[in-house]
Amino acid sequence: MSTDKAGTSQPDMDRDGASAEDAGHEGTGRAAGGETPSLPPPGTAIIEVTDIGKSYGQVIALSDVTTTVRTGEVTCVLGDNGAGKSTFIKILSGAHEHSQGTFVVDGVSRHMSSPRAALALGIATVYQDLAVVPLMPVWRNFFLGSETTKGFGPLKRLDVDFMRRTAKSALADMGIDLRDVDQPIGTLSGGERQCVAIARAVYFGARVLILDEPTAALGVRQSGVVLKYIARARDRGLGVVFITHNPHHAYPVADRFMLLRRGRSMGDFPKAEMPLDELVKMMAGGAELDALTDELDRSLPDSEADNDKETPAEVQER
């Protein structure tokens, strides 16, 4: 019962079939104490993907991607725009089914057809827009879609005190110290909102947390705050998949890197084998970056940028 409530998108069955179990606090048995239950020891592989790929008709969006997500580890998926990061997330989060390779969760090969199926396995995705309602208080946002109720029949009502208290303590467990859970979530900074979304997924039983570019829209200091909470989630034993195009954000928290370029994996490396400058170079495309540097050097003095119209497009694509 604990895992199917997981994360950022709530299974239908929970709201429809809520009548019987709503007598007590739905949430009390679970993460309220601060521990996410049934997590295997750190280092256990939860998700193993092997040569996974996805094609849409003739278009091969992703191919030959292999990596592992382990409890208590952060797997960083790096790639520039159009590298196939979104496709990879969609496969992991159950939004799209993979068309090649194997996708193993807890040792069982799966074909996940919906985000609900992924959630049922404890795989929660925090999307870039965070799925929060700006005008609603923090605690209402925290429990939105999975509200705790008390009472029966027409008197069935929100357990406001419990939710307020729990939101506060669940956030505190993640090291997020909010002044007031009654303030509209829109008044929080971008980083704080990201952290609330992460804490929410953790509280609702996520074992694997997929974070889609959590630092993309944030400033330097805010990004640092979010990275801290990613580390915190990792320390609590969650497997984290951190998607980003910024190697400088990825490097401090990641345990392994999986690089994507043009829909292909450039390899899956433990941190020990991959120094930062190498990572930056690989991301930018190594030799291509050198060529680009030369090209820009040449074109600038002559102001002949017009002659090389395809260059910026080419760069962007990578």
Binding site: M136, D161, L188
Partner: protein, 348 residues
Amino acid sequence: MSTATATADEVDERLAPTSRVTKVLRRPEVGSAIAALLVFMFFTLYTEQFLSQSGVGTWLNSSSRIGIVAVAVALLMIGGEFDLSTGTMVGTSGLLVGVMTTHFGLNIFVAVVLALVAALTIGALNGVIVMKTGLPSFIVTLGTFFVLQGVNVALTKAIIGQVAIQGMNLVPSFDVIQPVFGGSFSLFGTTMDLSVLWFLAITATATWVLLRTRPGNWIFAVGGAQQSSRQVGVPLLATKVGLFMTTAGAGWLVGMITLFKSSTVNGATGVGDEFIFIICAVVGGCLLTGGFGSAIGAALGALIYGMTQQGIVYATWDSDWLKAFLGVMLLGAVLVNNWVRKRAEAAR
């Protein structure tokens, strides 16, 4: 909303203790409460009949008929949608019962229930069209509004040969059902319609649902951020369709109240009221963009409307001033609401 008493360990020293006054001032219905008080005081001082026993009864009656639908419209607006077909729905349900009983001789209880089913169906249709096509509800319900307005008159004429229902009180069992919708009661010597009690009950229920139940949470969520609420598992379609059905159901109730109070409805009953409902909801603090508002506020908005309508009569002014006054109230309310929302959404 913030009634919970914080225990000692929850009090955060970084929070300057918010005074009760500040907390109250942040509520969406504050503006309408102050306005209602001002209107009440003005007419009490300016006219003699306003606070008399018959006077209070009169403006409460007219407030209640507007308020029942206004509260439902407020819920819908908090959910991020409009309904322009509510006014004609009052006429449609009244006419349905009238025609089915007086012309076709249908059992009155069956007719009342059938009218409710018809109203809810039209409401659900509004909702489903809006959600499935993604068109603005303003346009969809404007369409429903005109369809109903035309059908109300044309179909009634075609069937009974005139535009008003007659002989309603001769229908068998009329007296049995009449007290439920068209009855009256006395309080402190003031006689008022039973619709006042309906109004109070509906306002109380709506407030409870909004602030203390899961559907209420969902209403705020779908109005505030539709896509996000879908992502966290809020039943988007059910919530929105339910809201459209609620406004249609409220229209039905007022249709029944009108029919059983005056024993007649006609093709024009309710036309034009849809804007009054929306004005009441906005004056009561509902944002046009959704996600914020209150049922009590809309009820107060209806009270302002009822008091002004009767007050102007007692003051022997030209009753057309009412519309001008409503317009000013609406603009003032929108400006205040806009300011409130900017404050609420502002990032630190």
